[in-house]
Structure formats: C-alpha cells, structure tokens
Amino acid sequence: MNPIEEYNIQLTRREMLSTSRTCLGAAALASLLGSSSVSNGANKETLKLRGALGKPHFPAKAKRVIYLFMAGGPSHIDMFDYKPILKEIHGKELPESIRGGQRLTGMTSEQKSFPWVAPMFKFKKFGERGTWMNADLLPNISAIADDITIIRTMNTEAINHDPAITYINTGTQQLGRPSFGSWLSYGLGSPTEDLPAYVTMISVGSNPGQALYSRLWGSGFLPSRHQGVQFRSAGDPVLYLSNPDGLDRPLRRKMLDGLAKLNSEKFAQMGDPEIKARIAQYEMAFRMQTSVPELMDLSAESKSTHEMYGPQAKKKGSFASNCMLARRMAERGVPFIQLFHRGWDQHGSLPKNLRINCESVDQPVAALIKDLKQRGMLEDTVVIFGGEFGRTIYSQGKLTKDNHGRDHHGRCFSTWVAGGGFKAGFDYGETDDFCYNIVKDPVHISDLNATILHCLGIDHERFTVKHQGLDWRLTGVDGAKVVKDLIT
C-alpha cells in the first residue's frame, strides 16, 4: 500500500477512536469527508494533520521532497550545460539572430557589445553516459553523475529576481499565492507528530546577494498553518522555542498542566471545540521544545557521516550543516524541506564567486545524495538542485582574460533532480550551441512542479483550492504538463 495512503488510513482510525466522544469528532469527520474549504480548518491534537486531498490521486513513488534552492540564478553554462564549441566562439559577438529580440534586463539592455564567454573552467565527461560537468568546481557532484538527472532545458518567462523567484516557488509571478511547500502541507497534511510539514533553512554562499521574501515559503491564501517554518542556525532553531531564562522545563510542565486544567474547565463551561484544539497545540509546543533541539543536534551523527558532508558541516548555518539537517528531518518524516542558498547572482566576478559558491555546495550535496541512498531513502525522496533562472552566454561588463560577469537568462537553464521516482543517470533536453535557446524538450518551471507532484502521487490538474471563486493550482492554467520522460 502507498505509504501516505496507509498513514492517512491509520490516522483516520486513530482520530475516530480518540475523538469520537467529543464535539471535536464532528468537525474532524467533516474534514474527513472531503470538506476542503479553506476557512474550515479543523483542529487536531498533534501537528499531524490530514491533508485536504485525503489520499493521493495515484500511487506515489516519493514520500518527501528536499528542494535545494540556489537563489540568484546559478550559471548553467559554467556548471551543467557545457559544449566544446564554446571555446571556439569565445570573445566573438553574440549575433542578433540568436538573441531573437529577447527581453534583456535593464542592466544590459544598454550594453553595446555582447561578447560570448566560454566557461573559464575545465570540463570533463562524467558517469556512464558521459555527461559534461565542471571538473574544477564540481568534483563531488560529478562523481554522483549516475544518480542524478540533469534537465538542461528549464525555462521561465521572468527575467528579474523578484518575479522569477516568486514564480518558481509559488507558480506565478503575482504575489499572494501559496508556496510549493505550503501546497503540499495543505494537500498531503503532515505525517509527523512533533515537527512541521514544511521546513525551510537559509544559508549564504559567496555573498548574501539578492533578497528573499517570506512569501517564498508563505501560505498565500491557504491557512497560515501551512506556511514553511523556518529553522534557524542562530538563536532558537524555531522562533520562540526555548523557555525564558529562569523558567525551566519541569516548572513549564507544571504550568502547562495548570493551563490545560483551566482550559478544560473553560471547555466544560463553553463547549467550544476550539478550546480542546488549543490544549492540544500547547502540548505540541511542549513536545517541539525537545524534538526540535534533538533534531538540530548534529553531534549524534557518526564520524564517517561528518567526513562525508565535509568540515563545513560543523559550522552552524552553513549549507553543509543544513544538508545534514535536511536528511535528519527527512528521516523524521518531514515531507517538504527547502534549503535556500544565497549568492548565485554573478553579474560580475563570476569565476571567483562561482568557485566560492560551488565550494560551499559540492561536497554536501553529493553527500546528501549518498547518505539518502545508503539509508535506502533516496528512492522515496525527491531531491532538486536549481535556481530561479540561468545566466547569459554573453558577458555583462568587461570580458578580460580571467574575469567576466553574466546577466540573467530565463530562456534556458539547468536543474538537476534525483530520487523519488525520477530517472537516474540521465540527461534531458538540449540547448543550442550557445546555451541560449532550447532546441529540444523544453521543461517549463511549472512542468517540473507538475512532475514533482506526480512523483508524490498528485495529479496537478486535480489538486485545486477554491479561492475567490476560482479553482487555483500550483501549476497555473497555461497547460503545465508532467514530463513523463523524466520519471521511471
């Protein structure tokens, strides 16, 4: 039986048994019977929540997603979309025929010269299929070439950060829509007793660079409980998690016992099931006070694991440390984990800063894949590595012997996926010789979202929420499609 379905059924039984003698039962049953009205948030006794979907549309291959989001627009040309011919055209002018009247950002639209730039790195073929990758910067990711599928024809209409990063994370450039993770929290619910269904973490590469926005993990028009909970490296890992100085856990327990009694009294007086839900939420909060620090404590990890993720993993808040945490969350059942890694916006000094960025991700990402694999979790975990768009083949600013920049490029960029029903050791899509236009098999960002949903057992066209009279989807109405060739 499908795991999510299985847990839903178990949960259903448990809910009925535990709540059937209270008024809560009716509300619970109402939601159970398929009431998916947003305003009608039924309350449960743990963080465990049934999703609005009830059960997946079809058997799911994946149980969870780890989304490694490289914010700023990583250069596909310098990492995953290499062609030997680039060396020959280096320094020549990009002809108008290839640009094809493309919208340029206001940063280079005034530029007079558009010289082609070949990557200033060594490239080699990796994996059984012999796929090109940057041998200088990606020694570890290239070593897992056979575990990942590189999509070279990702594309988006947006050409600036704010709209592009909002688009890929919420399915539209408009503000106010739920993020990918909150859609899943809403649809599939949360299978964990004491952790949220959607967790985000932020780290910084070469520099903080472009801004992020809470809307990227926000719940839009869905109830706010579905928004991503940010786990943080400094201070409380979850906001307000720790008791105030001078108030210890045993006393907190006593106080919460008192609170629960008083609230139960109130329930007896008023009969409002919301009060029972409140009691449960306080218990949940109390449990999170231990479950979250336990989760965040990497000292329990073995030496070999630490070695695999590299020395950076010892540093709180680093991408490496977040990768290790992501695996721990995945183990504990968190269904959507999103890591934002900032600083990929290389308008200038690309060779230097791309190196810094790759040094911060190469080893931990490869380690994460290996780690999941050796624990047998890769097969039901989708891992995605990519950003909001790619970068231009032409140089932004001056091209010198060892330095250049690249502007934003949405017409094609590379994202790789692994696990959870995606093919392994596979390349999809083709761009032209200049990594500028797509020649074959485009994958729009909404197509990828649709495909990820498919791996989770969800038909993206039937996964809708009614808001302002319309049936909204994560994947919009522009005909997003599941890319069947990407999945096993």
């Binding site: 009716a26 600036n160 704010d162 801004a211 706010s224 307000y240 006593k254 008192g258 009691i279 009279g469």
Partner: protein, 1048 residues
Amino acid sequence: MIRFLWILTVLFFLSTETVAHAQTDEIRFDRDIRPLLSNNCFHCHGPDDENREAELRLDIEEEAKSSAIVPGKPNESELYARLISDDPDLKMPPANSNKELTPEQIKLFKKWIEQGAKWKKHWSFTAPKQSPLPKVKANHWARNSIDYFILHRLEKEKLKPAKEADRRTLIRRLSFDLTGLPPKLDEVNAFVNDKSANAYEKLIDRLLKSPRYGERMAVNWLDAARYGDTSVYHADGFREMWAWRDRVVDSYNENLPFNQFSIEQLAGDMLPAPTIKQQIAAGFNRNNGTTDEGGLIPEEYRVEYAVDRVKTTATVWMGLTMECCQCHEHKYDPISQEDYYRFFAFFNVSADEGKQSRERNSSPLVKIADPEKEKQLPGVQSQIAELQNKKDIHSKSVDVALEKWILQSEKQIRKQKPVPKDISLHFPLNKGKDKSVVNSAHPEQKGEVRGKVDWVKARFGQGLKLDGKAYVHLGDVANYERTDSFSYGGWVWVDPKASGALLARMDDGNKNRGYDILINGDGKISVHLINEWPKNAIKVITKKGIKAHQWNHIFAVYDGSSKAKGVQVYVNGEFWECATEKDGLTKSIKTDKSLRIGSRNPGSRLKGQVDDIQVYSRNLNHEEVQAIAEKNPLDSVLAIESKKRTDDQKKHIREFYLENEDAGYQELAKKYNALKSKEEELLKPLTTVMIMSDQKKPRDTFVLARGSYDSPTEKKVQPGTPPVLPPMTKGFPANRLGMAQWLFQDNHPLTARVAVNRYWQMLFGAGFVSTPEDFGSQGEFPTHPELLDWLAVDFRKSGWDVKKMIKQIVMSATYRQSSQISKELFEIDPENKLLARGARFRLQSEFIRDNALALGNLLVNKKGGPGVKTYQPPGLWKEVGLGGKPLFVQDHGEKLYRRSLYTYWKRSAPPPNMQIFDAPTREKCSVRRPRTNTPLQALVVLNDVQFVEASRNFAQRIISDGGKNKKDRAIYAFELATSRKPTNVELNVILEVLEHARKRYLNDPKAAKKLISIGESQGTVKLDAAEHATWTVVANMILNLDETLTRE
C-alpha cells in the same frame, strides 16, 4: 458496528445543513441553483466566449431556455438529461472537469425545472431593497430590526436564540470589538453595577467615543489597503506612509461618513481645492508594492501597479474579482476583458513611475509640515527680518570707508601682474541659471549641466554647487595628446573628506584613458595622464592637502614631456611638491569622451562648489599661475573707470567689501546665515506621503492581449465602469473621482452591502457573505440575504454613518447572546451561520499583544507617528535582505509598548509574532484573515520577550495591587485578564501552580532573578525576586488561557 452507526448519525446531522433547501418547497434560483451552475457549468457555458462549448450559455436566461431548459418539464430539458446521463460522452459536467454533482444537487435541478425554472439576476448585481420586518413568534426577544430577521430564520429552523451573555462577558466582548483592548476592572464593576435602563447603550457610546476606536478600525483597513512601511518588491526598502495611516485612524474617530472617507481614500487629490488631509487620504492606492530592481522593465511594473489598484479597489468596495479579466473574459461574472480595461483606465493615467525608490518615497507626494517646528517658525522669521534690517542699515553707513577701500584697491590693481591672455577655455560660471554654461573665451562654445545643481554665491559672483551626482558636460574640447603642453584648473570649495574630479577628460570604461585633476578624500590633489591604467600612465599627488571649507585655487601644468616631472601642481598660486606614483606614459591619452567639470566619465563625481574653471593650451609659468590665483575677484570691475560702472557693478563692489572687509557686517551676516539655516531646517517637512495623482496629459489605454504589458491590442478604450452595474450618473467626471462617486450612487448594488458585510464580519467572526472578497457568482450566498440588504439600505440612508451602523449591530439581541455551545447545536450549526448563539473567536494578532501589554500596565497610548521596531528575534531581516541589508535596529523605551497597529511592518519579513497569529504580509489587499490554532502560537505567548516581559509586569501589578494574600491576588489576576472571577476549581488550579513555582524559586534565587530581568522595562516597585518570579509564572499562565486569547 457501533462505530459505523455513529458515523451514520453524524452524517445525518451534517447533511441536514447542506440539503435543507431540498426539503423546503420553493427552490430559490439565486441561492440554490445559480451557485451550482456557476461552479459546475459556467467555465464552459458562461460569459467567456473563448472557452464556450456547444455555443451554449447558461448564465443568461433566454439562451439557457432557448435550448437546454424547458420550464416545468425536466424530462424534456437537455440540461437535466445531461446531468443524469450514464453515457460518459454525454454526462455533464464531463469527467475531465474534475467536477461532479451530488444526487441531492441533481434533484434540486429537477425540482427547480418542475417549478418553472424561475430565473433571477445574480443577487448582488441588483440594488438592495429593504423588505418589511419578518413576522416572528418570540417578538419579546427582539431588541431591534436585526433581531427580527435572525429570529425569523431560527424559528424556521425550529431553533431558539441563546440567552443573553452576562455583563462581564458583554463588556469584555464590546471593549475588544470596538477598541481592541480589554476593559479595566473599574469599568467592569461600573457596568455590572449600573442599574440604569440604558447602561448597555452608555457603554457602547463611551467605547465609540474612545480614540482607541479609530485605531481598532484602522487595523482592518490597513489589511485591505495593503499598508506597510516597506516597498515589497526586490529590496523591499523603507518608505514613509504613516501619515496616511494616522489619517485613517483620525477619520474613523471623526466618524467621517463612509462615502466621504472612501472618496478621499480613492481620489482625495482630485477634490476641488483638496485639503492636506484629503490629499493624504489619497495615499490609499500608493500603498501597493513597488520595485527598484536594477534590471526591471519599468513599463511592466507600471502596468502591474495599475492592475493591483484595480484589484484592491474592486475587492474593497465592490467585492468583485475583477482581476480575473485582466487576461480574458471573466469565467463566472458578466464582466468582459474590455470592461476590465475601461476600469483599468482610471488607474492607467497615474503619474507615478514603474521604477520607484529603493528607500523613501517616490513622487507624486505631499509634504506634511511638522507642527512642532511650525510653532517656532514665526519667531525665527522675525529675527531674520530684524537682522536683514540691521544689515541694510549697516550697509548704508559704510560709504566713507568703502570709498577709501576702492581707491586703495584700484591702486593695487595697477601693481598686479597681468593674467595670461591666451586662454582656451574659461568658464566663469557666472551667468548660469539653469542648465547651460558658456566658455567666455569662445562664447559659441557651451557646456551643459547634467543633474541637479544649485547656483550659489561663490568666489567670483556665482558658482556651482555639485551634489556628488551632478556634473557639467563640456563636450569635445581640450582634447590634448600626451605630447601637447597644457594647463588647467579652477576654484573649489569642499567639505572635509570630500573627493572627486574638479576637471577631467577621462574614460573610466577604457582603462581610464585621459587626464584629470582630482581632489582625494584627504585633501591631497592628484593629477593623472593615462593611456591604460595602471600600466601606461603618469600619476602625481601633492604631499599635503587643501583646507576644507574655504575657496582653494588648484591648477595643473603639463609640459608635454610624457614624464611625471613635467607635471606641476599649484595651490592658491603656490607650487606644491608632489610624490610620483606612476611614471610610465608612452602611448596616447586621447579619448572620445568629453571634458567634464566635477566628474570623470562616468565616475569620481565631486561633491562641493566650483568656480572659474580655466584651460590654457600651453604650460604656464609660476608667475602666470600666481596671477590667476591671486587675481582679485573684483579686478575686472575695479578696472573700469568709476564713473562708467553700472549700478550692478557698484552693488557688487559694495557687497564684496561688506562681506570681506567689514568686521561689523560680517558679524551680522554670520548671525543672519545661522538663522537662515535654522529656517531652512524648520521648513523641512515632518514627513511625506506618496499620493495618487493623474498625468497632466493622460496616456491612452488599450486592451492588453492576455493581460501582458507588452502586448497592447489596437482596441483603445475610454475610462468607464462595468455595464453590469448601473451607469455613472451624468455629470460625474470620467476619471478616478467620478468612479469613486459612482460607488456611492443610490442605485449601486454592491458598495453598501460589501461594507456592511465587513462590519458584521468584524463583530461576528464571519460575514453574511463568508467570502467578503467575492460577491460575484462564485462567492458564497449570504446566510441572511434580507438582513444584509436591510442593513445596506439603512447604511446608505443614514448618510453612511459608520458608528451608527456599528452601534445598531451591537445593540441587537443577536449580538448580546451568550457564546456557550451545546453539543446538539454545534452539530446542527458548527460554523454558527444561523446565529443561535453569540460568536466566540480568538483575538487577532494585534489585540493579543495589546492585551498582554495592557494587563502588564505597559501599554503606551500614544497616537500615530512612524512605525516602531519592537522586540523580534535577531537576524530575521538579514536572512532575507538584499545583500543582507538593511539591518534591523530595535527601538527602545516607550516604542516597545505602543499599540501593535504602530509596529514597523517590513513586508518581506513581517513581525513574526503577528504573522504567526495569521496577520497577512500585507503585500496584497486582504479583507479576511484566516484564524488558525497552532503550536507556534503557543510558543509566542509562552516565550516571546514581549510576552514574558508583559507577564513580569503583570505579576508586579498583581503583587502591588492585588491584595495581601495569594487568593486575593489570584482572583485579581484572573479577573483582570478575563473580566470575571475564577470558580473555586479554577482558583485552586492557579494556587497549585503558584505553590510549585514558589518552591522552585525559593530554592533558586538566581533563576528567579533571570526570569524577572527579561525585557527592557524597569520595575516600578522593589519586589522580592522569588515572589516576583513566582507570580510571573502565574501571570504567564493566565496570559496563555484560551479565555484570555479569545473574545467570547
């Protein structure tokens, strides 16, 4: 099996609600049928002709009845046949639509057709009418008209209203509903003991008069107006709109009629001779998110702003989802894409631009004077007048001394060395007023000021003040090669540490080719001659620096030798020794970039004043440079025979004398200038507000294909309102103002309903229409349509009197009901749609915090002003900010305890203790907040510094004012938070926790100290630490009570 039976029972209860209508006799088209048609059929058989299948429309009666429906005969109606068909090719809705009708719904269709398939226009597009009050049996229960409607429905459902809530509950309910704050104990007691017949009404009147009322009402309006202190997109930088927010608070407190309020919010700028308040109100539609992103295409965002304004206006005033037809015809409501762009045209002529400021406000804006400063202004201005007078008198008294000085100066001129005559370029910068400057050596050559500059009094008459961004473009002149000899420089006045080029012809983009004379941050002067920096260039730099805040003459002389020693620098006529930093020039220094004053190309902009720029095409000798530098600014005038001097020239001489030679005058001038600076400071506005304003020459509006800014069609449209609604009254202007007035026409079906529905939602937790943002076809049908209409008409007839409407609602028996819920009633009506009980719901985020501050006696009831940055966990802004900026800098003192309405609202990272309690980000308009119940909320009230600090201050209050023994104190604490006394059971629980805490802290005084040191407030009385900590735990528990967090 037992479980199975139980499910059946509950199923039965649930279904009574949904299919209740099927059992009553009459099917109502608007309530029962239209929503089903809309949700299941309109997508393909509705207003949008692009998607229409089989040329069938079911949203128009004639078309539906001409083919698909035969009134009275379901079995002859194709519509019904399709609903019940087993054939997957015929069955409707089709399987791929993901829509399905239940058997009960299909039965409804059958019955409706049988009853004659009566049709009605969508309810909300017909103007509301007041129906007579319904007849009710228990009319003794009804207190006002509202109750007749509610009771009528309850009696129909065979339900009884709940008993009236007790007075303690009522005063707490009313205080939160009308002011967002808890009642004080003496207010509770006064109300409980008030024996007068109108005690309840007096309470309402008192609350409505409280200035806190306006703040409470504003909180909801800020969500609708998507108000924030930052710009949303990209950098999400700081902006200043708080004066607009304060105007909203005042408007509510003044009880500005809703029509007037709305017209000012939408078009205050367009009213005849608008007051400053009306202009400020017109900031409403400038609260939208704006961008500053470097790569943006401004037109894309300019259109986006107009789209947002259409959406917000339509949602807030009409409950219409007009944004649906930006890209195509509306799928459900009779609004076409063309209608959309006609409405859009009202906003498409706004004068604000696509790219707006990263920080602060973008024009158009209105400046708001600082009342405190305004008070000082007359005093300063009269002092200025007085000094001016003194200066004038002094000026007239110096004739004799002046004459003597002139004679002396004339003699001196004759002794002076002559200045060189062969000047190539001479920009005295004297005649400039606007953008053009003239080379007085060759008047046909002109230069052009680029950027904003001030013309100021300088070394010689007038000069230019550059702001570090502006410069003067002189064109293709002085294009020297490294083998030419030439000399150049001029007068400069800078602040300490200022830097930039005085004069340069240099291409930064081409390895700095060219030459310059540059002031460094330390005052040293450097001169570059460059072919390719740093490989092929000369650079010399003076060993000492010039003095700031005085005029300096700086000048470079080059002999064409391509050697560093061929470059000499003179300051004020003196040769200054230089260090050589580069000495390897072997290639051309010629560049096609132009010569500039105050800048290289494009960098090194100078901040400071410049005057009298000169260039010579040879290397001058020391004496010649000296002559230029020492030249008396008056030389040219003094050289003229005294009789031939014009009045202007005479005046010039007198002024120069007074300012430079007359100590008495200088003293006066110093005072005068100081006062002028003060006046300038006082005249600076307190703040500005961005306001709506239309272009002088309005741009045309075209329908945009698929809503895309770069795909205008040829279809040009004129501003106008959707034809499904009544036309604009003749005489209203076809612009934003006319549109705002149109909303308040007597026959407008939506405005009053939408507004009243929101007031009802505020007071009952949900509106009659549970989708306040959508009154269209897909919105929910009202629970009490007749009452909604009755109130809507009443609202309009009252002159849109908001306080009166709110008073009327809270005066009703319906509102006064107890919110106790029986199991039976909950099962029948879990969402309390029928209102057989009072509403009970968790307080909104702002009031949860305000309540805690009030209980801790911390709340600062100060009105208005800039948003305050209260406690928040570290790093939240840095984690998301552009380049990690700006950093969050927390405020201190009373700013930590203002009402939450005044909390600084950064929209990419809103205050987390608000967001966790369901506050929206305010990036977009929202008229309804979800109300969730989560563990993160528990953590906020348990552990957030703000709440722990409030707990400890609450504890201090309990100990100081709650009586001597623990019982009295516990009762006092509980009553403060809930407005009622605890039961014995409750009291014992509190005392039990108290004893646990006491034991803990008596054993660990250090822990006690820690707990009572949280937060920045200082205790007002000295308390025993253990006792204080003990009560802090109890206070914190009481703050966390469901009852404390809830209005019931």
